[in-house]
């Protein structure tokens, strides 16, 4: 059963998918409707310091206009507020609300639960090894939060 490169790609996608699916559907069930990974990524980026639309766009590899649309949704749903920047009248400073922090924490918890389930399935050592190898292969690419542009959209290259 020598696997092909295509199979490998599908396995990786399947893994990501199963984790994210679980998270998103559980979040929806928990009252956070229509909260998609893109939103999660955006919140993460904002917490990480992307405090303006242009900034968020840069960090998530997306146009500032697209970022602004996402922000509008997050604001509308109360996950983020924007206040005028006292130091730069052009900017609007973004802040994650406590509701936003809640949904992020909830998402983390669900992902953590999935990871624990995986740990039980193949054992902590194997999972740790899998993560370590993946980290080795993927390297920094996984850490960059430019995923949303990539996730939401179809592959642009």
């Amino acid at each position: 059963m020598s696997r092909s490169g295509a199979d490998l790609a599908l396995l990786l996608l399947g893994g990501y998918r199963s984790l994210v699916d679980a998270a998103t559907s559980e979040l929806a069930a928990g009252g956070y409707e229509d909260f998609k990974p893109v939103h999660e990524f955006a919140l993460r980026a904002i917490v990480a310091g992307a405090d303006s639309a242009s900034d968020l766009g840069r960090r998530t590899s997306v146009s500032k206009q697209a970022a602004a649309k996402t922000i509008a949704i997050l604001i509308e749903r109360g996950y983020v507020v924007s206040k005028p920047d006292p130091d730069d009248a052009r900017r609007k400073r973004l802040e994650v609300t406590s509701l936003g922090a809640q949904v992020m924490a909830r998402g983390e918890a669900i992902l953590e639960k999935s990871r624990n389930k995986w740990e039980q399935q193949i054992g902590p050592t194997e999972l740790a090894n899998l993560e370590a190898r993946l980290a080795e292969l993927v390297g920094d690419a996984a850490i960059r939060v430019d995923a949303p542009g990539w996730v939401a959209q179809d592959p642009r290259y």
Copy 2:
């Protein structure tokens, strides 16, 4: 460096991404412009037996209309032809052309090359182990070709 569930998800996405990015950009460089994973998946599904638009839609977890649009593109580019079905006047039978077969083979080859590179990075044993564990965790979900609906679109849950 205890990894979180979120990190794990990003690692998996990053892995898939790096494989697919390489494939799509190399295909583009090789003259197959705008050939996206969705198309690859559709071709695979057609080869696997999805010989009508409705059928393809079902197999790829997408509406028949969406499938029809994808098919239209594939036909336009010469990767697929459609002929009236002699047994059912409603249907149009899909067939992958030799050009379609070519692009698939090329894609496979590129993915294979990426996989080999990974093999060199972490060793054949480790990669095989990684694949085996992933297969264990993801199970059938990876084999279902319903990925395109999931890939192309933004995460719907």
